[in-house]
């Protein structure tokens, strides 16, 4: 049965292609692009101001509201700032960590280290953020207890807390691609650089960084886009601070079209980001 099917497939390349691609293309077009398309269309609708039912009438009111109210400009800038800060912190922490894992650690401890980096991903997102909530609690949290004696107090709930929480959450997504990039980097390049008289810092800047740049970009796409869309962290440890995701969450039950309008912002930002990345050529060598 299976054999005859395979023979038919072998004889008819077109059929083979269809069988191979139907599921992924369906997924991509219906679930993925379809959802995006519905989102875009909904952004141009409006609601009945009393019942909240969506009225399917094309208009630009939502976009007008979004651009005229300064509050939304602030929330976009705030969210961008947080996403950039998280990406920077993750890169700064991940590069030395990944370098140690790939180039310094013995092969056996390498595997252990990879497993250790992955362990936070085993725990639920919510558990981790609630843990941060109790750690950051001003006055009686672990941070105050631990760092109080040396004069550092918890930042409390707000922007810094969100940046700490998100950096913690997304760090593995940055470490793993950089680790993979560094592993592919031949050791003799580093040796050659040293033999030719380059200092460590010079080697890092001129040899390592250009070669792991695509990995860095891959990692940053995770940390940046995940931060851009997040709302749960802000809800739990953000105090009264809101991110773009919170605006969507806040509005989707009351005013779905407006929530859709807001949701086009991160999509646009990501599109611009990817376009910039493409211009650097990092996508081609990924």
């Amino acid at each position: 049965m299976l054999d005859s099917l395979a023979t038919t497939m072998h004889k008819k390349p077109r059929l083979r292609l269809i069988a191979l691609l139907t599921a992924p293309v369906l997924w991509l077009v219906v679930a993925y692009l379809g959802a995006l398309a519905t989102l875009l269309v909904t952004a141009f609708f409006t609601i009945d101001s009393f019942t909240g039912n969506v009225i399917q009438q094309f208009n630009l009111n939502n976009f007008q509201d979004m651009f005229t109210d300064a509050a939304y400009k602030n929330v976009v800038l705030r969210t961008l700032g947080i996403a950039i800060a998280v990406t920077l912190i993750c890169s700064i922490l991940a590069i030395p960590m990944a370098f140690y894992m790939a180039k310094v650690a013995k092969p056996r401890s390498q595997k252990v280290l990879v497993a250790l980096v992955l362990t936070p991903l085993w725990a639920s997102y919510l558990v981790k953020i609630y843990a941060w909530r109790s750690m950051l609690e001003p006055g009686n949290g672990v941070i105050d207890w631990l760092l109080g004696p040396i004069g550092i107090s918890s930042p409390g709930f707000g922007g810094p807390a969100i940046i700490i929480g998100l950096s913690y959450l997304w760090l593995p997504y940055m470490i793993l691609p950089i680790y993979a990039g560094l592993e592919r980097l031949p050791n003799n390049l580093l040796d050659a650089s040293g033999d030719l008289g380059a200092h460590n810092w010079y080697t890092f800047r001129k040899v390592i960084l250009p070669l792991i740049f695509p990995s860095l970009v891959a990692g940053s796409m995770f940390t940046f886009s995940l931060s851009l869309g997040d709302y749960i962290t802000a809800q739990i440890i953000g105090g009264k601070l809101q991110m773009l995701g919170n605006v969507v969450y806040q509005n989707f039950s009351i005013n779905l079209p407006f929530a859709a309008t807001i949701a086009t912002i991160p999509v646009t930002i990501m599109a611009i980001y990817l376009w910039l990345v493409r211009r650097t050529g990092a996508l081609a060598s990924m």
Binding site: A37, S49, F50, T51, N53, Y72, N74, F157, S253, N255
Partner: protein, 400 residues
């Protein structure tokens, strides 16, 4: 080169397909706007056999099966008796509940006054045949056929109970004890950063209520009927309040945790949160301040798309029964709607404490209502700010 060409073709195919989806999405769902008049939805004529389950959207604390507290359980008995398994989804705000009911996945909802009319006019709930609910007869008369649970003499639900939004304060930290809502609006408050407010557009009414009592020159008569000047004053008050706020609360469990840890020491709350925090040993009290309070009078309603209508009716009858109604009222800390409940509460003074039959007490409690352009206080010389604008103002305030 060939690869490039191939990529291009594939891309154009995907693009074409996504356009097709776009068009489909635009056309498929039918437009169901209901401006003016109540959409006609059929009422249940007679009760059939239970479907085996019922899906409920309710306020936290309304549907308890003993998992929160083994002594608090009015669900297990119902499930055994009727064979209807109860699935409950808690809504954090009225807006949440409206959104959940619009999905059509749920059979019953415990709607407050700022949700009930939106649900009725949106065609999301069906009229209720009160003849099929024997316990309806014992409900207090002054809760039946009110503005928020009936339209044109047709009942849309079963009254559940009522209560006031309270001012919570940590008795060991906030001294002297507050008596006025002014304590959460005082820009020189010593509790700055530890004050909380309810995270919903309807909280604007709390500001309006405070202004109604403290700034008579604004002429506010009813906190849900605000003309533009009055509305702007309320928004200004909340903007000035924002620096005082540590966290806005929507999730009641997080709110209780904050009260317990001392992250929140003062602010608006529900009696059930006070009860939960006290149960965990927190020194906290809730009062109705001198200005009066906003509050709620809830209604059990049935979805117009209910998949389990028979179990839904059985549930509505059960929750209106004296025993269950007394259970909820006592657990949640509100006045019951069933007159016979008062004999069944564990605390015999419950109905007196919560003023179940004391009309004077409810005079300065303003039940949540949905603001509309036509002023709800009867003024005809001005236009009032409708709820959609409240939502926008709140969203802007929260994100500024």
């Amino acid at each position: 080169m060939e690869v490039q060409m191939h990529k291009k073709r594939l891309f154009s195919q995907i693009a074409a397909a996504s356009v097709a989806v776009l068009i489909l999405a635009g056309c498929s769902s039918s437009s169901d706007s209901a401006s003016g008049g109540v959409p006609k939805v059929d009422m249940m004529k007679e009760l059939g056999a239970g479907e085996g389950q019922v899906n409920i959207v309710a306020w936290a604390g309304y549907v308890e099966n003993g998992s929160t507290d083994p002594k608090v359980d009015w669900v297990t008995g119902f499930e055994k008796e009727t064979g209807c398994k109860v699935n409950v989804k808690n809504g954090a705000t009225s807006d949440d509940m409206v959104a959940l009911m619009k999905t059509g996945e749920y059979d019953v909802v415990s709607a407050s006054g700022d949700a009930s009319l939106r649900l009725i006019y949106g065609g999301d709930v069906a009229p209720v045949n009160t003849d099929l609910i024997p316990n309806y007869a014992d409900i207090f008369d002054n809760l039946k056929m009110q503005q928020w649970n009936s339209v044109d003499g047709v009942a849309y639900g079963i009254p559940h109970g009522r209560g006031a939004n309270l001012l919570a304060y940590r008795t060991d930290i906030v001294k002297p004890a507050p008596t006025s809502w002014g304590s959460v609006f005082d820009t020189n408050s010593p509790y700055k950063g530890k004050i909380t407010a309810y995270d919903s557009p309807i909280y604007l009414a709390d500001a309006a209520l405070y202004l109604m009592k403290t700034k008579p020159e604004l002429g506010i008569k009813y906190p849900y009927a605000l003309d533009q000047t009055q509305f702007d004053a309320a928004v200004e008050l909340l903007k000035a309040q924002k620096p005082l706020i540590g966290e806005y609360w929507g999730d009641y469990l997080k709110h209780v945790a904050s009260l317990k840890s001392g992250g929140t020491v003062l602010g608006t709350t529900w009696q059930v949160n006070i009860n939960l925090a006290k149960g965990e040993g927190t020194k906290v009290e809730g009062i109705k301040p001198v200005e009066g309070s906003t509050g709620w009078s809830d209604t059990w309603m049935i979805s117009s798309k209910a998949k389990n209508p028979n179990c839904a009716y059985l549930w509505m009858n059960h929750i209106a029964s004296p025993a269950a109604n007394a259970g909820v009222a006592e657990w949640f800390g509100e006045a019951p709607s069933n007159a016979k409940s008062c004999d069944l509460t564990a605390d015999k003074n419950h109905c007196a404490t919560f003023h179940a039959a004391d009309d004077a007490y409810w005079k300065d409690v303003y039940y949540w209502n949905t603001p509309t352009e036509a002023c709800l206080d009867g003024r005809t010389d001005v236009k009032c700010v409708p709820y959609a604008e409240w939502v926008k103002a709140w969203s802007s305030l929260r994100n500024s």
